[in-house]
């Protein structure tokens, strides 16, 4: 579903990602762990297309059925371009498309197009937006994505039903939906709100940056179950960025990676997270 190859990225001219490789298949949950400042959030922002995060080398291919109609032409030719460059690296098979799915050059898409293509970014620090209510924001977001995919907009009533169901599932008080986006929310409420958004938007690939930080025990359970029920499907995938094993108790990863110095320095199964927790990064990443 996501193929990251030799990704180099700079923030304000400072190289942060230095040749990162990662492949995520459909139905998989991957966890990335790593020391503070390793570049984990930089990876998330770079994949999301945040301005200021400049890719200087490498490629990212996203295989999705949601090809934004307005970028279809671009996507196809980009996919071809990627295909040629990957062929020379001998990993061309990653580009095989089946069942109406297309491999698009993620980096060629604008941030809102990446979202419409099925990418969701859970923020480490969700942004407060005074004066814009959660409901208004999410309805506009969902309908913008639907429009790009050529789907009809959701009516106010249908949208509210969907929003209430998600808030309920994640233990977010329904009146929080009417409040301005994240304004005055506690740290944990902000993270729950990210998951409510994910539930409403129903993405293909979720990159969740420390969604577990700042959550109390109940919230952690809610969020863990939320991630499982929204994302644990054969046609979806999750990339969890986390510092702690406790989220992984709820959302069992298939693969665990260590990101250090801007690269994936080690990969393994779920046991790697336990090893990290026991021994720290010094031994493992060395």
């Amino acid at each position: 579903m996501l193929q990251i190859t030799n990704l180099h990225a700079e923030v304000d001219g400072k190289p942060i990602l230095k040749g990162l490789d990662l492949a995520i298949g459909a139905g998989e949950v991957h966890a990335i762990m790593g020391p503070n400042g390793a570049g984990k959030s930089t990876l998330a922002y770079t994949l999301g297309g945040r301005p200021g995060y400049e890719v200087t080398e490498g490629s990212v291919t996203f295989t999705t059925p949601f090809v934004p109609s307005e970028v279809e032409g671009r996507a196809a030719s980009d996919a071809q371009r990627v295909s040629t460059s990957l062929d020379t690296n001998g990993v061309g098979e990653a580009l095989q498309t089946t069942g109406g799915e297309v491999a698009v050059d993620l980096l060629a898409l604008a941030p809102h197009e990446r979202a419409a293509a099925g990418l969701f970014l859970g923020f480490q620090y969700p942004v407060e937006i005074p004066g814009v209510s959660n409901v208004q924001f999410l309805r506009e977001a969902l309908n913008a994505q639907r429009a790009v995919r050529g789907e009809p907009p959701l009516s106010g009533g249908d949208f509210l039903k969907r929003a209430r169901a998600q808030a309920d599932a994640l233990g977010l008080a329904p009146d929080m939906l009417k409040r301005p986006v994240n304004v005055g929310f506690s740290g944990g409420e902000k993270k729950r709100n990210e998951m409510v958004q994910m539930g409403i938007i129903d993405p293909r690939l979720a990159i969740l940056d420390e969604t577990d930080s700042g959550l109390d025990i109940d919230a952690l359970r809610h969020v863990g179950h939320g991630i499982n029920s929204i994302m644990r499907r054969p046609d979806k995938a999750v990339l969890l960025i986390t510092h702690y094993q406790r989220l992984l108790d709820y959302v069992k990863p298939d693969f665990v990676h260590v990101l250090a110095g801007g690269r994936i320095v080690r990969s393994g199964g779920p046991e790697l997270a336990l090893e990290l927790e026991r021994e720290g990064y010094v031994g493992v990443a060395a």
């Binding site: 999301g48 297309g49 945040r50 301005p51 604008a110 941030p111 809102h112 990446r114 979202a115 419409a116 970014l121 923020f123 969700p126 942004v127 407060e128 937006i129 005074p130 004066g131 814009v132 208004q136 924001f137 999410l138 506009e140 977001a141 969902l142 913008a144 994505q145 790009v148 301005p180 986006v181 958004q197 938007i201």
Partner: protein, 382 residues
């Protein structure tokens, strides 16, 4: 008009205005083609329609408003004095039943129209007025307001004039003991504007609020110049202005609070904020305090910047494209200034006007009606 004496931009109070279009507008003849007024009416209270400054009784239901001589007390204002002494008058006492919101629609077909207004709110009386300005040309208005003890007035203006036109408003108000004036102005058209207000809190515990939103793009210019004078103790004033400028446009707010020696326990707040949608645009915000009393509370905030990039990316990352994301944030930014409009139906209309502007379709009536030009001879310039 033999000679149009206009203030020069070298004068401090006029340095952000561009009045250069006015001489030609003053010479021009109205074309007679006006937008259809229907979409501008909000409720079904009293309503008055002025076309090129001429009252149209056939499409009005003036309620308590009288047509005739009016003293706008604008003799010393360089534009206000041009408004003359002819126009409309509202004198309302507590014995009057509240008549619902009074709506006044001013439509222009080109050229210049001048009109004076006089509003007198008696003891314990109250009124609420919406004035809408649309169409072409220069609409010049002067309004004199008096609020007796505990009188209340809500005055809401929407400036929706067409490109190349100009709307100038000059208000003078005396606010009596315990009386309250809330004035909200929205400039969301395609033309230019100049908004002047000189409000005096002339009685104890008077309340004045003057605020609004100025939205400018292209080469547009909006300029608001306000003076709130606290003359007596325990007065309260609020000024909340939001300016948005795109392209090469300029939006300016100069807001002065004066606190006289006797006006102890004054509580004055100013919040002037601007958003530049492009760096080529200009926003001028100038808060001024002149305080002669020693026991007062005056707070002012003033900030001009760009839309929050972090918020923009957050919206984009959820699938909202750049243009609607900017509109959403700008709308939220402007909302503070329109929130003071008490009547929901009116507030919604103002918010919708701002939305139309943000979605790049400021008020343009789909229908244009043409009136015989013979009915347009007397627009106050003779």
């Amino acid at each position: 008009m033999a000679s149009l004496a206009l203030p020069s931009s070298r004068e401090e109070a006029w340095r952000w205005s561009d009045l250069s279009a006015l001489p030609a507008l003053a010479e021009a003849r109205p074309s007679g083609a006006i937008p259809a007024p229907d979409v501008l009416w909000i409720g079904d209270g009293p309503r008055l329609l002025f076309v090129d400054g001429v009252y149209d009784p056939s499409r009005s239901n003036p309620g308590p408003v009288e047509i005739g001589p009016a003293d706008a007390r604008a003799a010393r204002h360089p534009l206000g004095r041009l408004a003359g002494t002819r126009g409309w008058r509202l004198r309302i006492g507590a014995e009057h039943m509240p008549s619902g919101t009074i709506e006044i629609v001013h439509l222009g077909s080109g050229g210049a129209s001048h009109l004076a207004a006089e509003i007198e709110i008696g003891e314990d009386a109250q009124a609420s007025i919406v004035e809408s300005f649309a169409g072409a040309g220069w609409a010049n208005r002067a309004t004199g307001i008096t609020l007796a003890r505990s009188g209340r007035l809500m005055l809401m203006r929407r400036i929706l004039g067409a490109a190349g036109g100009f709307t100038s408003l000059a208000d003078t108000a005396e606010i009596g003991t315990g009386a309250s004036l809330i004035a909200t102005t929205l400039a969301a058209g395609a033309g230019d504007s100049r908004i002047d207000a000189h409000l005096t809190l002339a009685g104890e515990e008077a309340f004045a609020e003057a605020g609004g939103a100025l939205l400018a793009r292209g080469q547009q210019r909006h300029d608001a110049a306000l003076v709130l004078r606290h003359a007596e103790p325990h007065g309260q004033s609020r000024q909340v202005w939001r300016a948005v400028a795109d392209d090469q446009a300029t939006a300016s707010v100069a807001a002065r609070v004066e606190v006289a020696r006797d006006a102890q326990k004054t509580d004055a707040e100013q919040s002037l904020r601007g958003v530049l949608l492009q760096r080529t645009a200009t926003i001028n915000a100038k808060p001024e305090l002149e305080i002669f009393a020693d026991d007062v509370k005056c707070a002012h905030g003033c900030a001009v910047g760009e839309l929050d990039r972090g918020a923009l990316f957050y919206l984009n990352s959820r699938g909202i494209p750049p243009a609607p994301a900017r509109a959403l944030l700008t709308r939220a930014f402007v909302a503070d200034a329109l929130a003071r409009i008490g009547e929901e139906a009116v507030r919604e209309v103002f918010v919708a006007d701002a939305d139309n502007w943000l979605s790049n379709s400021p008020f343009v009536s789909s229908e244009v009606e043409t009136r015989p030009s013979t009915s347009l001879g007397t627009n106050g310039r003779d």
